[in-house]
Amino acid sequence: MHAKQRAWLWNSVFVAVLIGLCFAVYSSGKRIDYTWRWDRVTPYIINTDPLSINAEYTGTVEVSADETQLILTPDSGEDPIVITDFNVLSVSDGDLVFEGDTLAEQHGWRIGPIVDGLIVTIEISFYSLVIALALGLVIGLMRISDNPAARKLAIVYIEVIRGTPLLVQIFIMYFFIGTVLGLDRFTSGVVALSVFTAAYVAEIIRSGIQSIPPGQMEAARSLGMSYPKAMIYVILPQAFKRTLPPLAGQFINLIKDSSLVSVISITDLTKAGREVVSGSFAPFEVWFTVALLYLALTGALSLAIQRLEKRLSASD
């Protein structure tokens, strides 16, 4: 009973602190006379404003009888342009239009630049995660190999990558290696992030493998399994389970670190945020939104890995 009351007390403290923090944010906004305008941010996330379709050429308009198709025949004699994707017509059959005139309006939802950026961030993170996991596994196995060449190469890789800042690696990857190999920005960004994360993944996998009792390898080998088979069927499945929590942490870092690729002009969530700030003049709202979206991404990943952990714990 006593313990229960105490739990109540401290839970109330927790909620009070959260409310206090929200109030602090609100009042600091007040202090600098900041006017919160969340409505300015929404069009950059989901845009519900009608989109006007403008004439690309000067010419004559032809509208079909059921008003679902619009054909613009340019005066210059080029091929006619057929437009079908619209909701409201602004012209009628036979009208003469000039370049830039509004022909029709399209209603409905369109995704804004912030969501575009979010999608780029998800893409970069996903590709990097998959490559980092594969590369990290290879480097981690090389790290514990008996072959001195493989082992030392892995150590050099891990030390070099962990010993230099990711930002510098991204610049080197884009301006030097990217130029030499002719990689575009997106590929350069993905490669830099994968190479960086793989160094940490390698160390996590190495420690995971080394945490498996040596008797497991001996038992597998005594049954006639080759070293690779023993690794694949016996050691790695166990090591994978043990390394899931630190891997989750590393992949959450990866999602956050992906914001650094904005320095090579990849329009990810962070760069989109920066662009929207200059267009909307609502920096606080935009950055809070961006932060929340990152939080949603990392939260989803962490939840997915927790689920996986639970499923794998069936044999415990």
Binding site: P213, G215, Q216, E218, A219, A220, R221, S222, L223, G224, M225, S226, K229, Y233, V234, P237, Q238, K241, L312, A314, S315, D316
Partner: protein, 247 residues
């Protein structure tokens, strides 16, 4: 494997060091097909090390080992292939914790011998039935007692249809009341004519089941005799001393 001769294990002048420790000193012995050999000795005597050289879990420094007619250190020998013929049971069971009892038994036949799933499944069930675990097949090792785990481990080793079984102190990690169930399985195996090399502290098992008992101390093989002579008329002074402590 084809039958080459009656001597299924021929160890000659096996020598091994662990750093500065001279773990095996010129150990030579032969084991005949169908024979049960028990190795006894104080801890650190090299008996487990010697057993582990027989499937190359430990490599030897010098000497030679011929297993079922195959020279283990010949250039043409595939050690993985040789190990399929030599089953091993460990002190700490070493079951694969992420697989059920049945999957533990099935894994090597499926992945190493590439036998068809159906046949492997049936023979794995049969083996688990044989070691008395027909009702625990779907259990993970963590849900089994030590004795049950060790019996699964024996079934797992047998699944590769080996000609030789090595037992490395199979009952040392067990609670006393579970020792019997594991020894019973081993006795049954011995009765079926399996060639067995057993490192153990179970003197009763040695006396009852062994065809020959070996005594090792400080890496050297000192005595090799029938159980009757070994236990009732020991002559070697070191063995007399050892037996006076354990019996």
């Amino acid at each position: 494997m084809t039958k080459h001769s009656d001597d299924i294990i021929i160890a000659s002048q096996v020598d091994k060091h662990f750093g500065k420790v001279h773990a095996l000193k010129n150990v030579s012995t032969t084991v005949k097909r169908g024979e049960v050999v028990v190795i006894i000795g104080p801890s650190g005597s090299g008996k487990s090390t010697f057993l582990r050289t027989l499937n190359q879990l430990e490599e030897i420094d010098s000497g030679s080992l011929v297993i079922d007619g195959v020279d283990m250190y010949a250039r043409s020998t595939n050690i993985n292939h040789l190990r399929e013929d030599v089953g091993m049971v460990f002190q700490s069971f070493n079951l694969f914790p992420h697989k059920t009892a049945l999957e533990n038994v099935k894994l090597a036949p499926l992945k190493v011998s590439k036998r068809p799933e159906k046949e492997v499944h049936e023979s794995a069930k049969e083996l688990l039935y044989k070691v008395g675990l027909a009702d625990r097949m779907q259990n993970f090792p963590s849900q089994l007692s030590g004795g049950q785990q060790q019996r699964v481990a024996i079934a797992r080793a047998l699944a590769m249809k080996p000609n030789i079984m090595l037992f490395d102190e199979p009952t040392s990690a067990l609670d006393p009341e579970m020792v019997g169930e594991v020894l019973d399985v081993m006795k049954e195996l011995a009765a079926e004519g399996m060639t067995m090399v057993v490192v153990t502290h179970e003197m009763g098992f040695a006396r009852e089941v062994a065809d020959r008992v070996l005594f090792m101390e400080e890496g050297a093989l000192l005595v090799e005799d029938t159980p009757e002579n070994f236990f009732d008329n020991p002559t070697h002074p070191r063995l007399v001393q050892f037996l006076s402590k354990v019996l």
